[in-house]
Amino acid sequence: MSARSDLIDTTIKRFISDNANDVTGAAVISIDGTLLGSSMAPDVNPERVGAIAATMMGVTFRVVNDLKIGKAEEAIIRADNGYLLVVPISPQIILSITLRLNANLGLARMEARDVVKALASIG
């Protein structure tokens, strides 16, 4: 793995470890769906999740643009056993985070903003 890839993986793992009560997994993905780094449950296919999360962000950008409601900041899906949060890191890279159902969503979103800044500095 490249130094950049190692840094991404280390940053993701630290984020999950620091927020273990809320966060169950995370992935950094290019806007065309290529996985750049991830730490997810073993029964999840990270490549597939990467493509889906990037598509979810693509749809979000289009909805926001067509409805003329400003700039997309995040997309959230709530399921009966957790959440998926997708946040842009840069115009070319996004962060996907899975959260427990009982997660403190407000706190997790603040923590997500911090890790987005850290990941953005990796480039």
């Binding site: 806007i31 290529t34 750049l36 493509a51 598509t55 950008f61």
Partner: protein, 153 residues
């Protein structure tokens, strides 16, 4: 043809680029580029698996030959593969022309989302290395060919 099927006894395996472009552009307009690139990656990966090429080579010349046969005039006619060349840093430079994505298309930005995805998937599969693709030159931007840089993540 390399992928001859009996699914359509009258019409055979091929359809018009017109329909392909509606499918591709319509999907991209709604869902963005990722869905198209992902479809291409899956195609490239599955193609290599079907040809027994998973983890089989990192040699650009071998890739050129295999992908020319599979995707070119005697294959599925996605594009004509001119060369796949391994660079010293482990990346690959791919040169193609007559790509299905760009046929008859004028664009201000690179337009080979599906075709490039196929090469990302195929080269990832052949080298057992996760790859990321960037299009450097595109026929849709009046280039004479399409050139992709496919590099390890």
């Amino acid at each position: 043809m390399a992928t001859k099927t009996t699914a359509r006894p009258t019409l055979g395996d091929y359809m018009s680029l017109i329909c392909f472009h509606y499918l591709r552009q319509g999907t991209e307009d709604i869902a963005g580029r990722a869905a198209i690139v992902a479809a291409g990656r899956n195609r490239g990966s599955d193609l290599c698996e079907s040809l027994g090429l998973n983890g089989a080579t990192s040699d650009g010349a071998v890739m050129t030959e295999k992908l020319y046969d599979a995707l070119g005039e005697a294959g599925t006619r996605l594009c004509l593969v001119d060369s796949v060349t391994q660079q010293p840093d482990g990346s690959y430079e791919v040169h193609i022309h007559e790509g299905a994505c760009t046929a008859g298309v004028q664009s201000a930005v690179p337009y080979c989302a599906f075709t490039m995805g196929v090469f990302v998937g195929a080269i990832s599969a052949m080298t057992n290395t996760r790859m990321l693709g960037r299009e450097q030159t595109c026929e849709a931007m009046n280039g004479k060919e399409c050139v992709y840089l496919i590099e390890p993540v």
